[in-house]
Symmetry: C2
C-alpha cells in the first residue's frame, strides 16, 4: 500500500458510509446558534479516543474515558455541546455528562456506555442539562448523512470557520473513507480554548488497532500544533470505525489506513491553527540536527510558543536571533558553532556567523500567509515539525475582554 | 541578626563605600545616548556572577566566566555596553569582548581577568569595539562616587526607567551597604530582552561565600520573575565586594547579609517586571499546596507565562478557570478536588466548585496596578512566589516592529 492510494475529498464526518450527523440549537449559547451535535453510526463501531493530559479533566473527559473502558472500545454515537465546557463543575457536572450520554443512548436505542460525550465552552459554569435533554430528541430526528456540515458548525465556539476533512483510500478491491471535524480556539469569550476532533471511518478496525492508529496520527498532527501553548481541560480526539465498507484493516494495510487517517487529522489540525485567535499566518516550524526526536519536538514547540518569535513573524521581521535564543534555552542539546537558521529557504545564520545581507529577502517572504522557519541545532540527526500561528494584538484583544 | 537590621536606602551601585561608576556615550546606539558604563572599585574585590543558562551564550558571558575562573573570583571592575549584545558573533565577538575588558584593565591599572564584561542589545551584530576603545578613556576619567545614576542609565536599551536599589544592614558595630542596578526588557528594537544586574557591597565577603549568597538571592528574586518566558543569550548578574566597610561576612552574620542582598535584588527584579514590554500591572503569582518546592515554582512559572492568564489580567477579567487549567497542565502533582484559586483575597474556586458570585469583587480588584493571584494545588505543603506583568497589545506592537 503506497502513498498515492490516499485521495483527499470534500466532505466531513458523514463521508464514510453508515454515519449520520446532526447539529441543532439547544439554547446553551447565550447568543443562540447551533450548539449541540450528534454523530451516530447505524451499527456498533470500534471506538478509540485520546484525551487531554491536563490534570483538571472536565466531566465529559472523565465520563467518555469510563464509557470506553466499560464498553471495551465499542460505541454507537458521540454527543457534543458547545457553549459550556462542563469543567470544574464537581459531582453535578459528572452527573450531567452521564445524563447527556444516557439520554442520547435512549434515543438511539443503544447502551449508555456506547455513547461518548464532549463539551467545549466556559469553564466553571454548570451544564444546562435540561436544555440539552429537551433538544436531544430533535437532534436524533435530524440525524442524516447530509448533516455533517451542521454538526461541524454546532461544535464551534467562536472559531472563525468550521473545520471538516475527508479522505478515501483504496485498499485492494475496496475503498474506505475517513471523515472528520474539529473545533479550535478562536476565542471571543475567554476560556474556550478547547480543541475537539471527531473522526469516522467505514473501515472495520479492531479497537486495539484503532487506538494505535489514532495515537500515531494524533501525535504527528493535533499534538504537533500550538496556538498559545495552552492545553485545555476538555481536549479530546475520538474516532468511530463501523466497518460499513466491508474492509478490515490489519497489518497488511495498516500503513495505508494510517496515512489516510493522518491526512484527515492534518487538514483539521492546520485548520485549527489557521483559525487560531488573532492568527494572520500559518507558521511551519522545522527543527533538524537534533540529538533525539524528543529534543527536536521540544525545541520546535519552544520556538512555536515563543511570544518573541510569534510577534516577530507577525511583523514580518526576519529576526533569526530570536530563533537561536529560543533553541538555546529550550533545554536540548545545542551547538552554536554548528547551528543554522533559515527563514523560508533563506539562510540567515550558519557556521557561527550571521548572513544579514539576506534579511530583506527573508522579510519579503515573511509577508506571506504561509511561512516556514527552520533551525538546525547542530547536535545530531533527528528532526520534527510543528505548526503554529503568529501572535497579533488581536489575540490580546480577544483574550483580555471580560467574559460577560 | 534579624530582619529589622535591613534598611532600604536611596542610591544605587555606588552607595557602598569605595565604588565609583560612570556612564558615557560611545556612539553604539544609533540614536545616541548613554551606552557605556563602568563600575570600578578602588581596591580589588571578591567577585561572583550567575550567567544565563541559554546554550547560545554571548561572547561577554563566555569571557566573564573565563575571567572569574582565571582570577579566582577577584575583580576590580565591570564594563557594560548597551546597543549591541555581542551574541552569535563568532570568534571576532569573543576577541571584541576580551579587548573591551583589557582596555578597561589598562586604564584602571589592573589585570585583564580582573575586569568583567557584559553587553545588551541586538543579537548577531558585530560589537563596534573601535568606538568602545575610543570612549573608554573618558569613561575612566568620569568615574566618580556620584555617577551611579549615569551608569544605570547607560545600560538601558529601551527600558522605560532606570532601575537602582540600595540597602544598608547593621552587623554588630559596623554598617555595610549593598547597591545595585539592573536593566530589563523594555524593547522597542527587538532582540533586546537581556536582563543584566550589577551589585556592589562594601562588606568583605570571601569569593565562595559571595557566590553562595548571590545564587541564593538571585534564585528568589531575578530567577523568580518573568516577562515573557524568554531567557536571553546575555543574561547575567554580577556582584563585587570590596570590604571597604571593614566588616567581614561569615557564618555568624551571613543571614543578615543575604537578607539585605535579597532586598536589593528584589527591588531591581520588580523594577524589571514593572518596566516589562507593554506592562501595565505587576502580578504576584503564589502557588501553595504543592508536593515539592520544584513543583510549586514550576506551576507558578507556568501561570506567570501563560498568555491566557496574562491577557485576562490585562483585561481585569477574574478568569479563575484559566489559572486552574494552567495548573492542571503544568506537569506537577495536582488534585482538582482539593485545589483552590484566589484573586487577591477573593476565593473563586474551592472544594471542586466555583464561587462566581465573588467575580465582580475580583474584577474590581484586578483593575489596580499591583495584583496578586494564588493557586493551591491541593497536593502538598510547598509554596513559591513568582512575579510577572500582564500581556498587552503594546507588547505585540513593540515586538512585531521590524528591527530597522
Amino acid at each position: 500500500m503506497i502513498a498515492d492510494a490516499v485521495e483527499t475529498r470534500a466532505g466531513g464526518i458523514t463521508s464514510p458510509r453508515g454515519f449520520r450527523a446532526a447539529g441543532v440549537s439547544a439554547g446553551i449559547k447565550a447568543h443562540g446558534g447551533l450548539d449541540l451535535a450528534v454523530i451516530a453510526s447505524d451499527t456498533p463501531c470500534s471506538a478509540a479516543a485520546v484525551f487531554t493530559l491536563n490534570k483538571a479533566q472536565a466531566a465529559p473527559v472523565v465520563v467518555s474515558r469510563e464509557h470506553l473502558a466499560r464498553s471495551g472500545g465499542v460505541a454507537r454515537a458521540i454527543v457534543v455541546n458547545s457553549g459550556c465546557a462542563n469543567a470544574c463543575t464537581g459531582d453535578e457536572g459528572l452527573q450531567a455528562a452521564r445524563d447527556m450520554a444516557s439520554e442520547t443512548a435512549r434515543l438511539l436505542g443503544c447502551r449508555e456506555e456506547q455513547v461518548l460525550v464532549a463539551s467545549t465552552g466556559v469553564i466553571g459554569v454548570a451544564l444546562p442539562i435540561a436544555k440539552i435533554r429537551a433538544a436531544l430528541p430533535s437532534a436524533a430526528s435530524a440525524l442524516a448523512a447530509d448533516q455533517g456540515a451542521e454538526a461541524a458548525r454546532a461544535i464551534m465556539t467562536t472559531d472563525p470557520f468550521p473545520k471538516e476533512a475527508a479522505a478515501a483510500v483504496h485498499l485492494g478491491k475496496a475503498t474506505i473513507a475517513i471523515g472528520g471535524m474539529a473545533k479550535g480556539s478562536g476565542m471571543i469569550e475567554p476560556m474556550m480554548a478547547t480543541m475537539l476532533g471527531f473522526l469516522t471511518t467505514d473501515a472495520n478496525v479492531p479497537p486495539a488497532l484503532l487506538d494505535r492508529a489514532l495515537r500515531a496520527a494524533v501525535d504527528e498532527t493535533f499534538n504537533a500544533i500550538t496556538v498559545d501553548g495552552e492545553c485545555s481541560t476538555n481536549d479530546c480526539v475520538m474516532i468511530l470505525a463501523n466497518g460499513a465498507s466491508g474492509l478490515t484493516v490489519d497489518d497488511s494495510n495498516y500503513d495505508a489506513f494510517l496515512q489516510a487517517l493522518k491526512s484527515v487529522c492534518l487538514k483539521l489540525a492546520l485548520g485549527i491553527v489557521r483559525g487560531g485567535e488573532g492568527a494572520t499566518k500559518l507558521v511551519t516550524v522545522t527543527v533538524t540536527g537534533a540529538a533525539s526526536a524528543d529534543d527536536a519536538r521540544r525545541a520546535a514547540k519552544a520556538i512555536a510558543n515563543s511570544p518573541l518569535v510569534k510577534t516577530a513573524i507577525h511583523g514580518a521581521d526576519p529576526n533569526w536571533g530570536r530563533l537561536i535564543a529560543v533553541a538555546g534555552r529550550a533545554g536540548v542539546a545545542f551547538d552554536l558553532s554548528r547551528a543554522s537558521v533559515a527563514i523560508g529557504t533563506t539562510v540567515l545564520f550558519r557556521d557561527g556567523r550571521p548572513y544579514d545581507d539576506a534579511a530583506p529577502q527573508a522579510a519579503a517572504y515573511l509577508k506571506g500567509p504561509d511561512v516556514a522557519v527552520s533551525v538546525d541545532l547542530g547536535a545530531g540527526r533527528a528532526a520534527a515539525t510543528v505548526w503554529t500561528c503568529d501572535l497579533s494584538a488581536e489575540y490580546v484583544r480577544i483574550n483580555a475582554d471580560y467574559r460577560t
